[in-house]
Symmetry: C2
Subunit: 122 residues, 2 copies
C-alpha cells in the first residue's frame, strides 16, 4: 500500500528542492522512468524532463515555496490534492490541483495537473 | 482537437442510458478498448467491464439521473468536471469529480474518479 500522505509530502518537497542533484534524487525515487506530467503550461515525459521542468518553474518564482493545501484524498492507486505557490505566510500567487497516479511499485506514473488560480500577468 | 464539452456530455449520457444496447454503443464510441475507470468503489478495465459497471450503478439508483455540475476545465488531453446523481430537480444524493484522459484518437483512455458527497448509509 502506498502511503499517499508521504507521497504528497515528497512531491511538494521535490518542487521546493533547489539543489539540482538533490531534486534529481527525489525525482528518481518518486517517479517511474516513463512517467508523464501534464499541467496547463507543460506536458513532459520522463525523469529528465520532469526534473528540468521543476527547475524552470523555480526560476520563474525564485522566492516562492510550494505547500499542500487542505487534505489529500486517496483510494486505489490515485490521490488528489490542492497546492499553493507563493511567498511564505502569504496567500499563494498560484493555486493548483493535481491528480497523481502510482504504478504497482508505488512510483508516480502520471500527474494530471490543473490550475485554480494563476498569477496575474505583469 | 477533442471537444471536451461534447465528451463530457456524452460521458454523462452514457451514465444515464438504461438500454444495454444503446449504452454499449456509447461505450464503444467513447472509450478506448483497454481504457480504465477507477472511483472509490470500482476499478475496471475494458469496455465490457465499464458498460457492466454503469448498468450496476443504475440498478443501485434506479430513479436518479446523472448531470454535470459547473463548468468543465480542459487542457492538453485531460479534462476535469464535477457531476451529481440524484432525483431530477433535487439536490444530488451523490456528488463526484472526475479527471478524464483521452488518447490520440480522442477516446477515453482513463477516468480517475473521486467522491465529494456519498449517499448516507441506509
Amino acid at each position: 500500500m502506498t502511503d499517499f500522505h508521504e507521497l504528497a509530502d515528497r512531491y511538494i518537497q521535490m518542487w521546493n528542492e533547489t539543489s539540482d542533484n538533490d531534486r534529481r534524487g527525489i525525482v528518481d525515487d518518486l517517479w517511474a522512468r516513463d512517467a508523464r506530467y501534464v499541467d496547463p503550461l507543460a506536458d513532459v515525459t520522463g525523469r529528465d524532463a520532469i526534473a528540468s521542468l521543476v527547475g524552470a518553474v523555480q526560476s520563474q518564482f525564485p522566492d516562492a515555496v510550494f505547500s499542500l493545501r487542505g487534505p489529500i484524498d486517496a483510494h486505489h492507486d490515485q490521490v488528489r490534492f490542492a497546492w499553493g505557490l507563493g511567498a511564505p505566510d502569504q496567500e499563494p500567487a498560484v493555486i493548483g490541483f493535481d491528480v497523481a497516479i502510482v504504478d504497482l511499485s508505488g512510483q508516480l506514473s502520471a500527474v494530471w495537473g490543473f490550475l485554480d488560480k494563476a498569477p496575474a500577468p505583469e
